[in-house]
């Protein structure tokens, strides 16, 4: 997989507010990359820079090895699926899809065949003459997709395309998107604030906050080995706790020693202060006194697949978030155990910015 798009130290600000602060990003051919972050993190701006709707203040954008900073949007080999779909309301479905092809002076027969082909691809066969107002949200979403991919772009940019759909439809569309991506064999750059969407569909997830990339990696890496507290907190539920390295492969949290798999090889020196992430589903419940540490269940919530519990440590200083398939009662005293490989050690944030950021969490 060769590199297709590269962003080099991109800086962008609006009216003195820095939106992107030194973004470096590489997207390979045929990759499904998701830009993930809270609103205002700069993910949409990054997408608009690639689409050609914004120009960076500093830095360079490369496409296929050529700089495209000054190539206008209508000459870039990318197409966008907009957040609000931006379907042309005075045209019917067929005319919407044909718009890009007409500009390229394709023959009527070619256009007709292409429309039929993409409508089949998005499971809306026979919708050519429908008016846009007749379509449901999910159907509009598919038409927006069809209108973009009919132009055979090298890269498809998707700006929170599922944001306006209800949960069930969204999950359906996630499968659809992955299938489409496979059938088309093109690069997808996907923007969302929904971590589930990001983890389900992507080859690579890029977590952004406050105009900076916090971490990039496979969904598994992002989930299992978050590099800082922001990522750990943003991706899934987690227990983020202050800790201290005792020696290699041993970390102390709230006065209790936990065996772990990180040490000086990973850059953690003895007596160094660290942040520790433990996923709620990784905490195993044992009989009282039989685990590494003990606590009392103070609340319980059934959330579909499993129970979510809050457990107060014996000294009352820490509340642990647990997820478990077994039912335990509030007030029950339990023991808890965490496997060494499920303890993720992170460096404390260094700069003041990052510390301020941590306070926000």
């Amino acid at each position: 997989m060769g590199e297709l798009i590269r962003l080099e130290s991109i800086v962008k600000s609006y009216d003195g507010n820095i939106v992107l602060d030194g973004i470096n990003l590489s997207v390979s051919e045929n990759e499904f990359v998701t830009l993930l972050g809270p609103s205002g993190c700069g993910k949409t701006t990054t997408l608009r820079l690639i689409g050609g709707f914004e120009k960076p203040d500093e830095g360079r954008i490369f496409f296929d090895g050529k700089e495209i900073n000054n190539v206008p949007a209508n000459q870039r080999p990318v197409n966008t699926v907009f957040q609000n779909y931006a379907l042309f309301p005075h045209m019917n479905v067929g005319e919407n899809i044909a718009f890009g092809l007409r500009i390229k002076n394709k023959t009527d027969q070619y256009i007709k065949d292409k429309i039929e082909y993409v409508l089949k691809l998005v499971n809306l066969k026979g919708f050519e003459t429908r008016s846009i107002h007749q379509l449901s949200g999910g159907q509009q979403q598919r038409i927006a997709m069809a209108r973009a991919i009919v132009n055979e772009p090298r890269v498809l940019l998707l700006d929170e395309p599922l944001g306006a759909l209800d949960l069930k439809l969204r999950q359906e569309m996630e499968y659809e998107l992955v299938r489409l991506k496979k059938e088309l064999g093109i690069t997808f750059i996907y923007v969302t604030h929904d971590q589930e969407e990001a983890l389900t569909m992507s080859d690579k997830v890029v977590v952004m906050n406050e105009g900076r990339i916090q971490q990039e990696g496979t969904p598994e890496q992002i989930y299992n080995e978050p590099e800082n507290a922001f990522v750990a907190d943003f991706i899934g539920d987690s227990n983020i706790l202050p800790g201290k390295m005792i020696r290699d492969y041993l970390v102390m949290i709230n006065g209790i020693e936990f065996p772990c798999i990180d040490g000086s090889e990973q850059g953690f020196k003895p007596r160094q202060k660290v942040d520790v992430v433990i996923r709620p589903e990784d905490i195993e419940i044992k009989p009282y006194g039989k685990g590494l540490f003990n606590g009392t269940i103070i609340s319980k919530l059934f959330i579909g697949m499993h129970y979510e519990m809050l457990v107060e440590s014996e000294d009352g200083k820490i509340e642990w978030l647990l997820q478990n398939y077994d039912q335990h009662e509030v007030g029950e005293k339990i023991g808890m155990y965490v496997k060494p490989e499920n303890i993720q050690i992170m460096h404390k944030p260094r700069s003041e910015d990052e510390e301020a950021l941590e306070l926000d969490i």
Binding site: N74, F82, A86, G100, Q134
Partner: protein, 264 residues
């Protein structure tokens, strides 16, 4: 009981609104010149209307000025809205403030200031100055009716068109313009009616010897209104009524179509 009162109330309102117009229409067909007695049906006032050069030229002036000034105002106003869209929000708000002042300003002030302006610049007053004045006061109405159509949605439609490879001009023509069209059209209609209706500004900016319908009526009031003016008013009223009915029929047709579509 409640219903009867309601109906009576509506009847009274309707009478107040339409009885005077009915009287006008009836009198326009009156044989005598009297405004009190109906002596017999006749079309002689219509005949007089269409044989009076004064009336014909007033009608001609009124409608050509209305159409031309509405057209110019529509073009200028629409371009202004598009230009404003590229500005910062703050300057846009300031400009909209300026735009609204002439709307609230009393016609008499506008009329006198325009007259003064023409006197100072020694511009001979006549058809051209009326046209100029009407265009000026119509532009804010066009801006007011087109501006709301230019919003985030239109912007993203424009971007979508660019994204699909359209040039800026093509995107504007094919996508943005059809979006603005309802606003542009209603801006034109509004301007047209404002211009036809106007008396005060026209009165101050016209030269001697040129009349629109409203200034003609005003000058005739002094010597006594002739029933041919009733005939003229009747024609204008009927014309407006016909246009309104056509618009309503078309509206209900598209509504029905939309409803059918949604029931599918």
């Amino acid at each position: 009981m409640k219903k009867t009162f309601g109906n009576i109330y509506i009847l009274i309102i309707m009478l107040f609104l339409y009885l005077p117009i009915m009287a006008l229409i009836v009198l326009s067909f009156n044989e005598a010149k009297s405004m009190a007695v109906f002596t017999g049906f006749s079309l002689k006032w219509y005949d007089e209307l269409f044989n009076s050069d004064l009336m014909i030229s007033a009608m001609f002036n009124t409608f050509t000025i209305a159409i031309v000034s509405a057209l110019i105002a529509t073009v200028v106003g629409t371009m202004a809205v598009i230009g404003m869209n590229a500005m910062k929000k703050k300057s846009q708000n300031a400009l909209m403030g300026f735009n609204n002042i002439p709307l609230l300003n009393a016609d008499i002030v506008t009329g006198i200031s325009l007259m003064l302006f023409m006197l100072i610049l020694q511009i001979p007053r006549g058809y051209g100055t009326i046209l100029f004045s009407h265009t000026t006061f119509c532009i804010p109405y066009v801006i007011l009716s087109v501006k709301p159509r230019v919003n985030k949605r239109t912007e993203s439609l424009y971007e979508a068109a660019l994204d699909l490879g359209a040039t800026g001009r093509y995107a504007f023509r094919k996508i943005v313009f059809p979006e603005l069209w309802p606003g542009i059209f209603s801006g034109f209609l509004l301007s047209f009616t404002m211009s036809v209706d106007d008396f005060i500004i026209t009165y101050f900016t016209r030269g001697a010897g040129i009349n629109t319908i409203s200034t003609l009526i005003y000058s005739q009031v002094k010597v006594g209104i002739r029933p041919s003016l009733f005939a003229l008013s009747t024609i204008i009223f009927v014309a407006a009524l016909v246009v309104l009915v056509i618009i309503n029929i078309r509206q209900s047709k598209t509504d029905k179509r939309n409803k059918m579509v949604f029931n599918l």
